[in-house]
Amino acid sequence: MKKLIFIIGLFYFSPNLYSQTVVRGIIVDVNDEPLLGATILELNTQNGAVTDTNGRFQFTLQNINSSIVASYTGFLSDTLEARSNTHLTITLKEDSKALEGVVVSGSATFMDNLEPKHVEIITSSELSKAACCNLSESFETNASVDISYTDAVSGAKSIQMLGLDGRYVQINRENIPVIRGLTQRYGLGYIPGTWLQSIDVGKGSGSVVNGYESMTGQLNIEFIKPETGGNLLVNGYANSFGRTELNTNITFDLKNKWSSAVLFHANLFANEIDNNNDGFMDIPKGRQLNFLNRYKYNGERIKSQIGIHLMHDDKAGGQLGFDFDDNFKTSTQYGFSNSTTRLELFGKTGVLFPEKPYQGIGFIYSGSYTDINAGFGRNAYQGTEKTFYLNAIYQNIIGNTYHQYKTGVSFLLDDFDETYIDSTFQRQEIVPGLFYEYSYLPSTKFTLVAGLRADFHNIYGTFFTPRIHMKYEVAKNTFLRLAAGKGRRVGNPLVENTNVLVSNRKFNVLEDLKPEQSWNIGGSLNSELQLSGKKVNFIGDYFYTNFQNQLIYDMDQDANQLIIYNLDGQSFAHSLQLEAKVQLNEAFGIKGAYKYYNVKTTINNQLMPVPYISRDRFFLNASYASNYDKWEADATLQWYGSKRLPNTQNNPEKFQLSTKTPDFVLVNAQISRGFRWGNIYLGSENLLNFKQANPIIDAENPFGNNFDASFVWAPVAGRVVYAGLKYKIQK
């Protein structure tokens, strides 16, 4: 009778309609860590499924009472009786010797077909195709995340999704929000690429469990795990500009079910590169030390981890000759400097019920301190942020595993203290919240997730965040997904406009700024087919983001000001992406995508295209991998259509820019040769050496009224060639 409650819209699914046997569960290793990409098959058939990031699988048996076989390369297979309507936990015995390099070519990126949200998983084998350097390069071979260039001095790259700025994407590290607040702009550079194990790219609004912030998408990054114990990776890297990097990842087992991981990264770039001869460094000098150590406890009923992350990064840019420890206030040169220190303590504790695998309690917490000292010409910026985050989650089923839920409480304390020139900005956010997310899984074909959260913001009042996700398998291996959800975030206008700080524009905040708020609705169709023996995958998705409030960073009204105010009128983004992937054979794969973005906002009472967004983009990637990745080659071509530039009409005539940029092409390529001990790689970013000419307005007079280095829409420095070496020892 209880099932009658769940008549949701037009969909009514009773488990009784499905007389087939649905098998659902999770595949884990002996440490209860989920196995990604494990295969589960009905015995003596090809009917089955592959597990997702969380080790989950589900499929329908062709014959009731069949046996099922779980297997994973490098692990012992397991055959067991299938039981429907229960949640199976299948433990495969692992051999740590085989953990490395088991990802078969062709599955480097795949759609998570169990997930009701549109989520693509980028595995470590895909990540190794762009060996340089940090999280901002990790999306080079992925069509869903766009990389944009912010200004001609700081060298920072930022991401865009659905045609909108990266600040609307929630970035989590293992479900702890990171790269937000004051590290919004430079934070991607604080996550070394070799630390990454996988990235989940979710489009559209995310789960309510992770907060109210994901407005256009979520990225969840997973770092190298301690429980791969006994492994060592050393990576050395150098590029043609003179940047050098060293990374070491060490994992080891300790006594009594404890294991640990030590991740270390250092980079140094002390050369001055000025390929366009404007007297300014095309990219700033930089040096960074980055260290993460975490400890994990794997008990029967309790799993816990605790870790520390320490990072210090210095940048020095601007006019040639400006060095790391120079004082920008007294230097004769126009100097840019940024010194960021970040300390974070984080942890997780989970309580499991081995006899009830669907039940669990989890606590996720993190406390961080970020300190930034920066200078832009004569102007000083100082900022500190103290954050404490806690999320407590309880999950269980209602009656049977057709009905599952997650509920819990969260708490966010975010304390900002910023000074720019002679103005001070202080804000303390205290946000307790509650959430409930219900999942309805009546069959392997259909999943519905409906969530609601309420957050009680001390400054901005109560936020209600409803979100709904649905997945339906319309034909075998063809999935339709629909999603709708509300999202909010509180902006930080200074750090979000660090690109504009590299100009002589005056910051002009017209009114009290309110949180940004949007609805996102959309859906996708994803089909995996075998066409004449080749694996072909088509993905089409469309998302619409509509802002109820947005912070307008207006550079159009006045070329000498950045005017900031709340949205008054319409603001929206239509995003369409069509993507096809073909695995021609075991070695060759190709993928191509077309993206269309129609992004408009109301600037100074006029609805106009958002600057720096290409309406049309093409993406093409070809990859080759020989057996056991002895040889790998990868090339990506991206075409960016014309972008609108902010209005420069009230500049003197020689400092006026055209209203649009030309279109351009970027090509990245890499080859690598594997050995028993690791691999060596050689690659190039921006192989065709495309450069934006004259990125700085009035570079001769950096302290004059017209100086502006924020008009950057393409790479400034040109082609870079890099080479590196990875040395691995496995237990």
């Binding site: 390369t73 490098g74 692990f75 297979s77 055959t79 028993r676």
Partner: protein
């Protein structure tokens, strides 16, 4: 007890088996080598290692018959291949495995891991 039966069986197999000679093929040489591999994991370990061996073009282990077929160029020869397989931890025809390497193999690849009479079959 069970282990000694296995050894006797293995010994019987080895003595009944005569080492096969390499054959010249269109793209080099091909040799069939009898190994002590017992499972998919062994297949993975051996084939992956040989992929990085000088002169080896391809290798394929049939887990049921334990016979490894290697295609290689004149940059190596059958004896070098047998020696390498022994260094991975497996017998290769009459070349005995290196004990230290064998001891380091995962337990599923060691003697008796899959029962004495039922070799582990891939799914």
């Amino acid at each position: 007890m069970r282990l000694s039966i296995l050894f006797i069986a293995l010994f019987g197999m080895l003595s009944a088996y005569s080492q096969s000679e390499p054959i010249k093929t269109a793209d080099g040489f091909e040799v069939k080598i009898l190994t002590s591999a017992v499972c998919e994991m062994c297949k993975y370990t051996i084939e992956k290692d040989l992929a990085f061996e000088k002169g080896v073009k391809s290798s394929d282990l049939d887990v049921d018959s334990k016979i490894l077929t290697v295609v290689y160029s004149k940059r190596t020869d059958a004896d070098k291949l047998r020696k390498r397989i022994s260094e991975i931890g497996y017998h290769a025809d009459e070349v005995n495995r290196v004990k230290k390497a064998y001891d380091a193999l995962p337990t599923c690849c060691q003697d008796g891991a899959h029962g004495s009479d039922m070799p582990h079959k891939p799914q």
